[in-house]
Symmetry: C2
Subunit: 487 residues, 2 copies
């Protein structure tokens, strides 16, 4: 389907980032799963605009030069205008580094040690007002301007936890616009929000309730959102219809599991760079390759994964010198103390396990602390078992990407607390992320599974990934938008 | 009302504890809120039996000598048999120190730092089976024996988080008995239980669902329990009727806010020991007395309370030398590392605040790290503001006891995350436990409130405590038991 009215897309990170090299302006396609997922949308758009934050110095220059936005040829689509919003640097910093990360990210992934954090002080309250709320208001101004330009007839598609206050603000000024918001991270249950003072958490919920439709990865997250409306805001919710009523308006909670573009990913898996890396991996592989690919975010549960591997080697001495645990970890947010400490804990346990079990030239764990997409994709093709043991993870696209291109009848070992588990859990070996022993046992089960069973499970996973692709993710949302617009 | 059928009461800690001194057996009435609350039940019982664990060495001797139980004259009630259950020491230790505390206590109070704990290993899985489950089975045997002795017509009243597996076991063997369970700690929402592996958490929920009625302090906890049945066990729940159906049986979730015996507490507040302590307190009081009385459990949020006080003194220099924060803290579970570390953090921040703000003979905080009930009750009478800023607290009886006997139009500053807040929140100054600034501001508001308003609020609180007393707590439960028995 295609949409006739103007689509206004809003996300913090946009599809391009500008730079300057040797006096020349450079343009890079943005990284990150969101940009990849949304670029599929551009082909469905007629006369769309993508509103996003100016991040780099050159972005700010572009934002000043072209306040209405530009159509970057790099996107391969003439009609898609990218409108960069230049923000006050202090406000942008508070918005991102005090409120969105870590406060909202930590709450939505259950990452706080409540015995010691968070401590809401005047700093956080001011950062919420003059950072998060101010940035949301500035984006709302831009969105309203774009709605008015389209004669009031527009669909606004908002993305993620950076913009929970924006929908209500746009709704107030443009009551008839269709507002749709997709949340890319888990939505926890009501207690998790009780760490925020009521004025803050009420504002976030009420802001989000300005939408017509709020989308999540899973039915569980959608239900948690409605339960929060019930428990914290005392609004009437209907868990059968998955709706809540506020100010006489019906707001729908829906779920669309995000996915990948299987064809594009398969093509990337055959690139010369990946094939080079794959040959190298294959040359030095032992009987079993256990793989994990993650950002070093504590929510990914990397340390418990190594504890489970330690147990596995202890319980099964016959695996000695026959297995490698390849851990491709991309350092993340190292300016946040908890994240820096987490990398130290990872290095310590890797050293411990290698010292305890290693022999001769056998390193039981091979740790790579850097971002190397070609190596990751090569490893996707070569693993026997992929470990995804996240404590809480909105979706986890590594599971979908890797099983799709795997060439060895690899088995997914997948945490029950990932969004992906709703689709792929039936064909994976399920991991219980806080149970070290169970993880060790499950990895062993996956490693020793008969090849026919491995193949059957992988084939089933691949079918799911091919059917529930990113195009379907978009179509489901556009269908719900059409329904909302028709009412 | 009184009940004609046999009542079988089950709790871990019983109403008496035996000891040995100079070759003679001694009998002490048990301590703790549960024993106090339940002793009121004895007057309503005809031919009751209270089944509880043998704790002391002498308890074990008594259990062997009198396997059917004794009627200790100390309870002042001829008909109430106390049956001590001697347990295998290793099983009892695993039951209590590995599973009940800390695992269940931590989960139900959101005390885990999930980045580092819990780590479920073989140790925990075995402790669950050969400790927690074994103790529950042993208690179930005793209960079944007592049910059979009563000709099968009995009511079983179970208490707290030690016995979640017991109800289903009794139900299996005695399908027609009425089973009622009261949970004395918070019931968190479904995500909190996801840290337990599914076999464990399912067993706990299914065990508890052996009851006819499950009672909690608040409607919120009861709803959380039903939501857990829905989200984790996929059972059909009815949130209007507050019921869940399992194996064709209806299980009701109810709420009864626990309370105190106001007359008995008023009498204690006039004891010579309390009056002595009160005179001493009054002699050295300054303009304002801020008080807290707590066990040193991290859930009580003691450190953030001192951080808020630090801010208060900073924001309001006019309070210098005119206020004392009296902190009566009873050390708790010092064999658990997190608890020992918490006491160290308390001592550090008290020293810091006293060094930073103290002058001459003015110590802004007076910290007492011991258990002194007389001093606590004397302070209850003398405070101007009582701080209860718990992160999560099932009920908090300190709030009810202290406001009842206070003689100075004292104001409750009460966390929104305590059970007591459902009853007393409207007349208290509400504290948001993670918001340091708000706590400082709220304490200041309470300290400077006009006397008429303070008096009006206190009078309203006292009425609530007098009306919702412990007798009413029991009557509500007995009424629900009668209804369940009639069906």
């Amino acid at each position: 389907m295609s949409l006739t009215e103007r689509i206004i897309l809003v996300s913090n990170r946009g599809p391009v980032q500008y730079g300057r090299e040797n006096g020349e302006r450079t343009t890079n396609r943005g990284a990150g799963g969101l940009v990849t997922a949304l670029s599929g949308l551009s082909s469905q758009l007629q006369d769309g605009v993508w509103v996003c934050a100016a991040m780099s110095d050159e972005d700010v220059v572009v934002a000043r030069e072209s306040p209405e936005g530009l159509c970057p040829p790099e996107l391969g689509h003439d009609d898609l205008r990218v409108r960069l919003v230049a923000l006050d640097p202090a406000a942008q910093d508070d918005f991102y580094t005090v409120i969105a990360n870590p406060l909202l990210w930590f709450i939505q992934h259950h990452l706080y040690d409540l015995k010691t954090g968070p401590n809401i002080t005047r700093r956080e309250i001011e950062a919420f007002e003059s950072g998060y709320a101010a940035v949301n208001r500035r984006f709302a101004e831009v969105v309203v301007e774009e709605v008015n330009k389209a004669g009031g007839d527009a669909t606004v598609m908002l993305h993620d936890y950076h913009f929970y206050l924006l929908p209500a603000e746009v709704r107030r000024q443009c009551p008839d616009v269709v507002l749709h918001h997709f949340v890319h991270i888990p939505w926890p249950d009501p207690d998790a929000w009780r760490v925020l003072p009521p004025p803050m958490r009420d504002a976030l919920f009420r802001g989000l309730l300005g939408n017509d439709v709020i989308g999540f990865h899973t039915e569980g997250y959608a239900r948690n959102f409605l339960l929060g409306c019930q428990e914290l805001l005392h609004l009437p919710v209907d868990l059968s219809a998955m709706e809540v009523v506020i100010d006489g308006r019906v707001v729908r909670a829906r779920w669309y599991p995000i996915s990948i573009d299987p064809e594009a990913f398969e093509a990337m898996a055959e690139s010369p760079e990946v094939l080079d890396q794959e040959r190298e991996l294959a040359a030095r592989r032992r009987d079993h390759l256990l793989l994990r690919v993650d950002r070093t975010d504590p929510s990914k549960n990397i340390v418990r994964g190594f504890m489970a591997y330690d147990l596995l080697l202890q319980d099964h001495p016959e695996l000695a010198e026959r297995i490698t645990f390849l851990a491709l970890l991309q350092p993340s947010r190292q300016d946040v103390p908890e994240y820096a400490a987490y990398v130290e804990r990872i290095q310590t346990i890797v050293d411990d396990v290698n010292r305890k079990h290693g022999t001769g030239d056998w390193h039981p764990i091979e740790l790579h602390l850097k971002d190397d997409l070609d190596l990751a994709v090569a490893a996707y093709k070569q693993f026997d078992v992929l470990m995804v043991n996240a404590m809480f993870d909105g979706m986890n696209l590594v599971a979908k990407e890797s099983i799709l291109v795997n060439r060895r009848d690899g088995v997914l070992a997948l945490s029950e607390n990932t969004g992906a588990h709703e689709e792929l859990g039936a064909f994976a070996v399920t991991l219980h992320p806080f149970d070290i022993q169970q993880q060790a046992d499950a990895i062993h089960e996956a490693l020793t599974m008969p090849v026919e069973e491995r193949r059957g499970r992988r084939d089933a996973c691949v079918k799911v990934v091919q059917q529930n692709d990113v195009a379907k993710w978009l179509q489901m949302q556009l269908a719900d938008i059409s329904r909302a617009a028709a009412e």
